[in-house]
């Protein structure tokens, strides 16, 4: 007989949600995190979209959340310009957007919830790998000792030591990983509300940026989210670009972003309170199979993140996959076949949710989001078109289509590549 029903590796949104769900169903759960306090090494941009968490924590909106996103932006930044969509809607009351969160607070709150639900929460220990016997996971190994469990839920995040050491995940290539860098900049609550034009101190702004102006042409996406008394700002940088470009350092990129003429005023007077960096999964599913004999993989470890350039999501996918993994174990347990079961029901159950549907429907979207067209050509053409349209030169005005066509003609990039990227954009975004 196993020591635990389930061992959950990693106390992020996926792992903690799974542990809460399992412990609430009276399963004997161990939740282990390498950080102490649990989750303190976790990083994310910081918007939790949707309401998935209410399934395991109905009171979460009264918990460790910062501001409700009432304003959502998407911008292209060139060296001198900003081309933006700044969407604000009173309808965000009925259409669920998301809350900005600070992960150190948020994850600690979730881990406590797991503990209060009856899970054993152990922090400050790094699991080495799955313990396998006859092709089945029978628990986990740490410091040469095996702790047994009927099932293991691997929710260890993008840096998947356990999955890689257990031979169920390949070391990620540059295409499957990006580098996320983030700073939390302290500003007074009132300043944030005023500066971002928010309707109250409870309301927030979240925006994604295409950083098309970086030294050496390095491709990166930026984000800026407002918390109660701070702003989270960061960049997600292409690992391949960083590796190929010896002149640009990752820490320079966030500085260039912060110093941009239309970003700097937003941060003025702020003090950097926290600096962090983390791997970000890219390019969809990170494993061949998200289940096996005696184990399931959830959250970032499985590659469950979504980015189409307009919005970055991950925590909601993590939460749903964690809950579904927990449910799938309980399903098997009910039939008396929990121990070492082949959890194919996890894949089946998750296929019915947006998690695997989005993974399937948006496969290959990274080829668009990291394309030259998105990062350079389109911003440049748009900038020129806007300058022509919104200025008065004393010359007769031209039609928009003509302006666009003219500036496109002057660009030296391949028209064929742009056409391909535009086609992909229509299909995949």
């Amino acid at each position: 007989m196993s020591e635990f029903d389930v061992i959950v590796v990693g106390a992020g949104p996926a792992g903690a949600s799974a542990a809460i769900k399992l412990a609430s169903a009276k399963a004997n759960v161990l939740l282990v995190d390498r950080a102490d306090p649990p989750g303190s090494k976790n990083v994310s941009g910081g918007v939790l979209w949707g309401d998935s968490l209410s399934q395991v924590a109905p009171d979460w909106e009264k918990g460790p959340v910062e501001r409700y996103v009432e304003a959502k932006g998407v911008s292209f930044l060139t060296k001198d310009s900003r081309i933006s969509i700044d969407f604000r809607s009173k309808k965000f009351g009925e259409y669920k957007s998301g809350y900005t969160v600070l992960r150190t607070k948020f994850d600690a709150w979730l881990a406590k919830k797991a503990k209060d639900s009856g899970a054993m929460v152990v922090s400050g220990v790094t699991i080495d790998k799955l313990s396998m016997k006859d092709g089945k996971a029978i628990g986990v190994e740490q410091a040469g000792e095996t702790i047994t469990a009927d099932a293991v839920i691997i929710a260890e995040g993008a840096n998947s030591r356990v999955a890689i050491n257990s031979g169920i995940k390949k070391k990620p290539s540059d295409r499957h990983i990006a580098l996320g860098i983030k700073e939390i900049i302290k500003l007074p609550e009132k300043t944030i509300t005023e500066r971002f034009g928010l309707s109250s101190a409870k309301m927030g702004f979240a925006s994604e940026y295409v950083l098309g102006f970086l030294d050496g042409g390095v491709k990166a996406g930026g984000f800026l989210y407002t918390n109660k008394e701070s702003v989270s700002i960061g960049a997600v940088i292409s690992m391949g670009d960083l590796r190929n470009n010896n002149q640009t350092y990752s820490f320079n990129i966030i500085e260039q972003f912060k110093e941009h003429p239309f970003i700097a005023p937003l941060l003025e007077g702020g003090r950097v309170e926290e600096y962090s960096a983390h791997l970000v999964p890219e390019g969809g599913l990170a494993v061949n199979s998200i289940h096996g004999n005696g184990y399931m993989i959830a959250g970032d470890a499985a590659g469950f993140t979504f980015s189409n350039g307009l919005v970055l999501q991950g925590m909601n996918y993590a939460i749903v996959s964690g809950i579904v993994a927990a449910d799938s174990f309980l399903q098997k347990k009910e039939k008396g076949i929990g121990a070492g079961a082949n959890f194919s029901n996890y894949t089946d159950n998750l296929s019915k949710t947006f998690v695997l549907k989005d993974m399937k429907n948006f496969r290959g979207v990274d080829a668009v989001t990291w394309s030259n067209s998105i990062h350079q050509t389109i911003p440049a053409i748009a900038e020129e078109a806007m300058l022509n349209m919104f200025s008065e030169s004393g010359e007769p005005k031209e039609h928009l289509a003509k302006i666009l066509f003219k500036s496109l003609k002057e660009r030296k990039e391949s028209k064929k590549d742009l056409a391909m990227d535009l086609y992909r954009m229509m299909r995949r975004m």
Binding site: P37, M120, G124, V125, V140, Q142, A143, E145
Partner: protein, 263 residues
């Protein structure tokens, strides 16, 4: 016969995470996580090393503190300590080092037989170094402070004391008390197995009634120290001048002109 070791520890805010409020100049501990006082980690390790070498050793870790100090005790147990007692009571609040020593001495007395008591040299959050020696005085036993190494030979406890002019080796007959220097050893990491076991075993909690002291002897009432005032010292501003490589002559000239360096 079992060798009974007691380790006295304190939970402190992680000094790297404590920030000074720029307005009030007081320490803001709320942002910092709570950890075992660093020197106490070395004290635990010193005790565990005796347990590694000797047969039939039983270690109990004790602390006086609020209920959340439980995590420090569990951490100690996960490293290999056998039992843990949290002495916790509202009556202990506001204690200076005198009633703290008295409270811990009363706890150890109540526990029964003891052979060696270990404590960290001092805590990072108050740095008095009073409590360990105080407990030895209350119990009327021998003590060795500033130690970096301890061992047992022929029924005696040996300890190396790191003093300004050298290392002094002392020999004591148990029961005795030893305070351990910060960084004098490398504390072991708890394993998952041991963490799980310590969670399952749990800690004991004692209150004022359990150690049979009068309320007026402990906490703020039992504290002779009165803080008259507190002030902060303004840091001298650095000039922040920079010299490039190859400007050594200029650098030396500057130092000489300021009287920092004499040629």
């Amino acid at each position: 016969m079992t060798l009974e070791i007691v380790v006295m520890i304190k939970q402190v805010p992680d000094s790297q995470e404590v920030v000074i409020d720029p307005v009030t100049f007081t320490l803001n501990r709320s942002a910092a996580r709570n950890v075992i006082n660093p020197a106490d980690e070395n004290a635990i390790e010193a005790a565990l090393r005796i347990k590694d070498r000797e047969k039939d050793v039983h270690i109990t870790v004790i602390t006086m503190g609020p209920p959340f100090a439980e995590s420090a005790l569990l951490d100690a147990m996960a490293r290999g300590v056998d039992d843990a007692i949290l002495v916790s009571d509202r009556a202990f609040a506001g204690a200076d080092t005198y009633p703290t020593g008295l409270t811990l001495a009363a706890t150890i007395t109540k526990m029964g037989k003891f052979d060696i008591i270990f404590a960290g040299e001092e805590s990072t959050d108050s740095s008095t170094g009073h409590v360990g020696p105080g407990v030895a005085e209350f119990l009327g036993i021998e003590q060795a402070s500033y130690t970096s190494n301890t061992w047992i030979e022929d029924g005696f406890v040996y300890a190396e004391r790191e003093l300004e002019d050298g290392i002094e080796t002392v020999r004591m007959k148990p029961p005795c008390l030893i305070t351990v220097l910060t960084n004098s050893n490398i504390p072991r990491n708890p394993t998952l197995r041991m963490k799980i076991d310590s969670f399952r075993k749990g800690i004991k909690t004692w209150s004022l009634a359990d150690i049979e002291l009068k309320p007026e002897w402990v906490g703020l009432k039992g504290s002779p120290t009165v803080v008259k005032s507190m002030r902060t010292i303004n840091e001298k501003k650095r000039e922040g001048k920079k010299f490039k490589a190859g400007e050594m002559d200029k650098f030396v000239e500057e130092l000489v002109s300021k009287g920092i360096l004499k040629l």
